[in-house]
């Protein structure tokens, strides 16, 4: 992976830097998970809630987190960057906690969630994406704004 945006094209340091360069690919992948997890949660909660309530509620929670991250990345700006940092951290904690939970006590989960077994059903992307996402957000400079504290 390249450390900085492709050379050769001058890139405006605009407000929406979160979805420029590598951020575009990250945004697309989060978009896929937002759409996928949301439709899955809506379907499961509306048709078969009683079969695995815990798994489906956790799926819905994951869906909300993915939607927030996608929206924040698309919108850009410092507030969105902070919101995305919080949500992606929650995502990482969630996938690690639920991944471990499903390993230790599979009986609690008669059906899969997006985060079961650390996202094995999704090529482990649920555990890889937040790491890449955090890396990406950390190397975004805090946007200069009048009155905003400058980064250390």
């Amino acid at each position: 992976m390249a450390e900085r945006p492709a050379a050769g094209e001058p890139r405006a340091r605009g407000q929406a830097g979160l979805s420029n360069g590598p951020g575009r690919l990250i945004l697309a992948l989060y978009g896929v998970f937002a759409v996928g997890a949301t439709s899955r949660a809506v379907y499961q909660l509306s048709t078969q809630f009683d079969e695995a309530p815990l798994a489906y509620v956790l799926s819905a929670l994951a869906a909300v987190v993915y939607v927030f991250i996608t929206a924040a990345l698309a919108r850009g700006g410092e507030t969105a960057r902070r919101l995305a940092l919080v949500c992606i951290t929650a995502e990482l904690v969630g996938v690690l906690a639920i991944g471990t939970w499903t390993e230790v006590q599979p009986s609690e989960f008669p059906d899969q969630t997006v985060w079961s077994d650390y996202g094995r059903g999704y090529l482990f992307l649920p555990v890889i994406l937040p790491v890449i996402g955090l890396w990406w957000l950390r190397r975004q400079p805090a946007r200069e704004r009048p009155g905003a504290p400058s980064p250390e």
Partner: protein, 122 residues
Amino acid sequence: MFLPLTIAVAVTALALAAWCGYAAVKDQSTKDWHFAGMAVVTLLAMAQVVVGLVQLGRGEDPDEGTAVFVAYLLAAAFAVPAVGLLSLTERSRWGSATVAAGGFVLAVLQVRLHDIWAGTGG
């Protein structure tokens, strides 16, 4: 009719992913020819929506239910146009990488569509 289309979409989507992935590796943005390729894949996916809906209309029943089947059909049709738009405003290798990811996702969707339609028995 549905299975050949599923295979056609999956193969062309993987080809698109490889082609745009190659452009990304060579540090190139998506060009007109890439967009022509995206159009071909999208047309096939839209034909798949029509054929799928016609088969539903004839009373055939997807193994995993109509709602899931239609949701996947529509997602498959919108996958490539969505990444195409994203790459239009990202004129770097990362625009190409985004289309490559979209093509790969579409191929995975085709595998799922086949399972949903025919059932896997597992």
